[in-house]
Point group: C2
Chain length 233, copies 2
DNA sequence: TAATAAAGCTAATCCAAATTAGCCAAATTA
DNA sequence: TAATTTGGCTAATTTGGATTAGCTTTATTA
């Protein structure tokens, strides 16, 4: 029953995609893990998405766990690379700090929106986050990674910038840490809402806008300007 | 090889605990599910915790899924019952509203602390929340339950109270919804942090305190009093 | 161009964990 | 007190899904 000369099922799909499969596996696996969690994804599912059969996966990864591990490794790499993604421009913190010395309400809104929409829409980021949310309790390391990426790092980076802005008189407070929390916590909360129900995104963006305007009113600039702002309203 | 007259493994542990087992199964299952997620918990684990063998579980529940379903049902029941738990006293919203008309900073802190510590420490609540966090992406219903309980309901209940407080002149804002978000989002964020790493609880409580004081400074009372507060500092 | 490696496939195999079968003793009830 | 129910046990059985075996073809390399 061997089909000689002719390949039976047309499995000569190797026209240059060769080294690609390994990455496609990670990509599809990440998608599935982020939707259903590690334990509920079958290697056959992953393979099927990639367009191969389950046993072929093992030519690329030792086993299912190795796929997961590779994803985590990739994630850590990307998290490091994108450390600057929270910034208003692509440059370093110093440059950002200069911008913030004369920041307007508009720009503050842009900052918040960038932060929010980047986290929400960047495809890798979103899937990583959802996967971590599901898997965090299996492995303390994953919980730590989640917190670092979505709580501690944003708070500390934003806090640093806000500290500079306070020093420059752009913002006013005697507790930068709490001010930063007031800025970021609503963003974080809206993010977790949208992850769970993407249909609420439009609403969330509106709320975000209102939040930042209010934040600006509460903490923004000198008291004279606050008063001016109030009159305008 | 039958041991007549004498029970072999001492399994006569039925001295009154009889009807209890069914509940103990749910309890232990909830604990395990909240720590490891449904798929990573074996019925043998649950049984072992209860002090019986796996097959005996099936005298009480049709199968593993039925245990999970019973937990969810129990959860929904409790969520309904405890709807009032967010209140400052055990009474209804009207009573709360009256209290809030003359609320002090102390009382506001108490309110926030109660909310936070109740969510964090109430044993059922905590385990339900952690389980929902893990399982939310398997079933849209669970995601909805999570959001209702930890996002929408708190925001709407607090929002209602804050609305009354604004009407009474205790708080000041032209956007109650955002003010409520500013009050609750940090609490929510601290909660998710502590769920992931209970060792950070002490720190979180301190932050919570500072948050509410700052909130009170930002939104509290008439402008004259705000100014007075500022001078005190 | 012959040999080897890479990457796919089908058809087992393996295994852990859920579930069922069937027995037993305490408790309850008629 | 006899019959039935309840809730436990041990010992299978089942099963879904990961992994391995072993073959084939294309690509690469010596």
């Amino acid at each position: 029953m061997k089909c000689k000369g002719n390949n039976y099922n047309g499995y000569s799909n190797r026209k240059g995609y060769t080294m690609d499969t390994k990455h496609r596996i990670l990509d599809e696996a990440l998608t599935l893990f982020s939707e259903k969690g590690y334990a509920n994804v079958y290697v056959a599912d992953i393979a099927s998405r990639v367009g191969i059969k389950a046993p072929s996966l093992y030519k690329h990864y030792r086993n299912k766990q190795a796929i997961f591990d590779a994803i985590i490794e990739e994630m850590n790499k990307r998290f490091l690379e994108q450390a600057g993604a929270l910034q208003v421009n692509g440059a370093d913190a110093k440059a950002d700090a200069d911008i913030y010395k004369t920041i307007s309400e508009e720009q503050l809104i842009t900052l918040g929106n960038n932060l929010f929409l980047y986290f929400l829409h960047d495809d890798y980021t979103r899937r990583f986050r959802k996967m971590l949310t599901i898997e965090q309790f299996h492995d303390k390391k994953l919980a730590d990674a989640y917190m670092k990426q979505y709580a501690d790092d944003p708070l500390s980076y934003q806090g640093m910038l806000f500290g500079l802005m306070v020093a420059a008189g752009v913002l006013q407070t005697d507790n930068v840490e709490i001010m930063t929390l007031h800025f970021y916590a609503p963003i974080y909360m809206l993010l977790t809402i949208c992850d769970r129900d993407p249909s609420r995104e439009k609403d969330a963006v509106k709320t975000l806008d209102a939040h930042i305007k209010q934040f600006n009113k509460l903490y923004g600039r000198s008291e004279e300007q606050i008063k001016k702002n109030r009159k305008k309203k």
